[in-house]
Symmetry: C2
Subunit: 467 residues, 2 copies
């Protein structure tokens, strides 16, 4: 559980200052360019057209279920500007992909929507069902790419903790045609936190009432954690994680505190503004629906802050959303929000992952690439390893937890990675372009967080797609 | 400097308990085998013969300077048993390698042996000269392997800190025929430690007299740090680091404390007991000469403890020596030891690196290998990355140091690495054999630290050499 549960982050982490600096620098850079500013006005005006284009890019995803597309893409809110749709998206149709059943609001397991059941039980049922959905979608991509041998499959690996207090199911695919390595892990556990663990949670503001400082505190946790590394350097890596955490009274074993945490983020090797804007739009929709308009900008910023490598002065990728400590008192929950409403958000956000990510993989998995592009991907994979081993709280917590299942924690690492001394991309190259975005997070959906997406970015990015 | 300077470790780290457990388990395993015990008696009796064999293996190293060989290998003390000399060592002669000038006790720079000069100046001159020697030796190996294009060369990259308080020379070779990536870095700097940094040093027992707790304390540091990753999976990775640290009074700028730290360790992909015993014997010699008989066992054990990955329950490699806080009061310094004597030890230990490591590379760099063996090397490289990013104090300190030169810190990472979910070697395979040694550190030179080296180990290991 450790890798899933411990991704706790204070709302204003030490990176906040760096983040602010980056934003200031980004703003200066942007405002210095009057031509860019002029372009931006045009861009805002053409927001609706851009949104329509995004919707168009996804037509194949929903096949003929246009209402589903509307569900997934809040057209009026997607104001990233004139996002060009990669024309080869249409060519995916012959692959026979059919993801129409994803995003469906009904669940196979009735317990998920049964409000008479404890939330822990419902969340556990939900993450298990989501795991199956996601594994299924990724296997469909494998099968579409390699129909002759029916595609690579996930290995399903059920495990229990050595102390017997829980376990999980790790679904891992490696050596696929599409995916170098993909892990879709579910963990459900009941155990006790050490006093030090409880103190850490109190330090970030959690209130556990009368529970004494020296108590070993029972908790329940259920979560899903996903990391996917495709082979093709033009197909981005993605990460997703949603978890429910419940702290219980040591005497009565009744819940004294609970919260949700999680998020999803995209890590491309090369910039494709379509992919980034699409991914963000898909994650913004559940935020808007269940938490209100203020939520996405805040969780987007939190994501940029959390996935930041101070020693490289760059973010891990193009971001997404990130949150923790989401309960009814959270500043990110709407006034008067119910636990049910927050669970609805987490359900929606989790189910948005496949529509947010799978089309991007499908669009790039057959894109030709050079050895140099593969090498750049490997170098970026090295950065991914650096983030996960040095900075990710979940991984760090897991590595220090006795009896932790190390393979489930480190399955997030790519299969292959590379480090070169003082590697510096040529100015103006696609490699330099993505680095620029990683050093200055962009405002993909024009919500006022990050540097404005300027048309030049999009035009340049699309060069890569045409290859 | 950070990567060099911060490799400070308390003598009895948290791993000590784990280490003790491992030793107990190893002892139990050993004593359970009566046949092994019987063999061990024979083994001890044949110590001299074994030592002679090691000396023989190195004949080509010293060409005809037999006195040099005696200097490097304390024959009577090398009791690892009947170490078999790989017969292909002799075949290296046609490579035309001539390392006879290494290990010479004279230096080009007179300041190194000039006792009227400050130690900082002498150490700086020493590490610079050692850097040249080591770079030269590694380039000779490259040239021997690829004479037609004169061999790959190191890129020499001089740098200064952004605050102007020091700098260094990073010599890096990548993409060679012999070496995938090799970094030989020297740093010399004068700067100030934060009160927190000083508090950390005080916490591990350093005494800075009257210096107030809130003072920013001036220090001087000079060091050399080396990590070498060969291409051939049968040639082990090696690390070496020696440093001199001096803390100065904030008012007078006169030294109030000083110490040496460092060590060297070997990380093979496949077990070759010859390599391990040879490497240890070369490092034991300078310990014996300058610190006395008690030093090598202690520094060997410290090395096994420091390079231990708790989350994998294995050591990084087959060890070597590791030490810190070496001053005249250190428990590892002989009674009445002078600073000069300790510097002599550091000089000798540094110069032992080429004789300890280069012959092993030469012996394996042309050894045939399979794709499966290369893959195993990549997986072990992954562990190396884990150690350096998660556990190595120098790297961690460097990553958190503002204005640190990140490329010099992370040059220790291999060029390529790999992670596979739940990879488990077949029982009895060469992959399983090295894992066994990593889980139970061996007593390569029969000094009473680690599990006894039993003849079976050696016989099995030699299979790999014959390939």
């Amino acid at each position: 559980m450790s890798s899933i549960l411990a991704q706790t982050a204070t709302r204003r982490a030490p990176h906040a200052v760096a983040q602010a600096t980056r934003r200031t620098a980004a703003a200066a850079r942007y405002h210095a360019s009057t031509s860019a500013r002029a372009s931006r006005s045009k861009l805002a005006a053409s927001g609706a057209a851009g949104a329509a284009a995004v919707a168009g890019a996804l037509w194949w995803w929903s096949t003929s279920t246009s209402s589903l597309v509307e569900n997934l893409i809040p057209a009026a809110e997607c104001k990233a500007g004139p996002i060009k749709v990669a024309t080869d998206a249409v060519n995916l149709r012959p692959l026979g992909l059919d993801f129409a059943h994803r995003g469906n609001t009904t669940f196979k397991s009735p317990v998920i929507m049964d409000t008479s059941k404890p939330m822990g039980e419902r969340m556990a049922a939900y993450v298990k069902e989501l795991q199956n959905e996601i594994v299924g979608a990724l296997e469909e991509l494998e099968q579409a790419e390699a129909p002759s041998f029916n595609g690579a499959k996930f290995e399903r690996d059920a495990w229990t903790r050595t102390d017997g207090n829980g376990g999980g199911m790790s679904c891992v695919l490696s050596g696929g045609r599409v995916f170098e390595k993909a892990g879709v892990m579910v963990t459900v556990m009941e155990s006790k936190m050490s006093p030090a663990g409880v103190a850490q949670m109190r330090a970030r503001g959690r209130d556990f009432g009368d529970i004494p400082k020296d108590a070993h505190v029972p908790f329940f946790a259920a979560g899903i954690s996903i990391v996917i590394h495709p082979n093709n350097p033009h197909a981005p890596t993605a990460h997703m994680n949603y978890r429910y955490f419940e702290v219980r009274d040591p005497k009565t074993n009744k819940p004294v505190a609970w919260w949700f945490g999680g998020g999803a983020d995209l890590t491309p090797t090369f910039l494709d503004a379509n992919d980034a804007a699409h991914f963000h739009a898909q994650l913004k929709a559940p935020c808007d629906r269940s938490l209100g308009k203020h939520a996405y900008p805040a969780l987007k910023e939190w994501c940029d802050e959390y996935f930041y490598l101070p020693h490289r002065k760059e973010t891990r990728g193009v971001g997404g959303i990130f949150f923790d400590d989401l309960d009814t008192d959270s500043p990110h929950a709407p006034k008067g929000a119910t636990k049910e409403q927050l669970f609805a958000f987490v359900r929606d956000a989790g189910r948005a992952f496949v529509p947010a990510y799978a089309p991007t993989v499908a669009r790039h998995m057959r894109q030709p690439y050079t050895a140099a592009e593969k090498r750049w991907q490997q170098l970026r994979r090295g950065r991914y390893v650096e983030f996960n081993l040095v900075l990710d709280r979940g991984t760090k917590f897991g590595l220090m937890t006795p009896n932790a299942r190390i393979e489930s924690i480190l399955v997030s690492l790519p299969e292959t990675a590379r480090w070169e001394y003082c590697h510096t991309p040529v100015a103006g190259s696609p490699e330099a372009r993505i680095l620029d975005v990683l050093k200055t997070p962009r405002d993909w959906l024009n919500v006022g967080i990050g540097a404005a997406v300027i048309p030049d970015d999009l035009l340049d990015a699309n060069l890569a797609v045409k290859a």
